[in-house]
Amino acid sequence: MSDEAEGLIEDTFITKLGAKYPFVKAKGVNEKYGIKFFPSVYCIDADGLVHSVPDDRMPSEQAIEDLLKSVSLAPKLPDDPRYEPLRSMWDKRDYAKVRDYLDKMLAQPNLDAAMREVFDAQKADLTKRVDAQQKRIERAAAGPDYAAGSDQLEKIMKEWKGFPPEAAAKKELDRFAADAAIKKELSAGKALQKLVASFDKEKPAQVRKLAVELDKFRKKYEGTHAAKQAEEMIGQLRK
């Protein structure tokens, strides 16, 4: 069964479901992790330690965001204090400063050969990241969750100020603003975000109230993607 899974995985998850995230086939991994039900989720933090186990269910988006704060954004750099300014720029997501700094350093004719090699690799990494934003923009702009897409596009615009993705993200946001159907979805999606954020999902009484409010929301915004999301949330909350 596990050996045939390669074709089955490919057919089910990659082809039919269209999974875009890394998908691994690993024999015996269920036993190693004591998996008792499917789907089961483990979250591993940046220090390589188990942060959450299957009984905790999927960590919230906020929990993942918090974990990501401890992850360095810098590409692999030698453990050398001379690279600290650059590491700091990466970690602050100040990509324009990274670019300007690299250009300035690489323009120095007498730059140490080892440093030049590192800076060349950094420059290539920056270019790769700029290119990767295009796919991120396409995904964010494709819908149907235009509220989340709009948040993503605004984030990209801010992070990539002075780079081509800034203009590309702005173009999509302008398209959102000019399209009545998208505007309707956007308005419903933002309202849903606001509604969900106003309840403490750790408290059972709040969860029950949220389910009631989501049901009202679903009816009010019937026909929108946000209404479908609300319906799915109700199902999850009532599990």
Binding site: P22, V24, A26, N30, E31, K36, I44, A46, P54, V71
Partner: protein, 61 residues
Amino acid sequence: MLRSIHVFAGVAVAALVVSAPAQAKGAAPPEFAFEKVWNDGPATFADMAGKVVILDFGQTW
């Protein structure tokens, strides 16, 4: 640089018969060999070092 990885591990039903205890929070998770990886991602367990990783164990029914 990708800071988080969502890895989906497809495995066999038979593996459920004998299960080790679940991994504890705060412990280092056991490493495992990647037989095949779809989509852009880590080629080995070690490649996930320094990143936030979601290990999503699933089943092909």
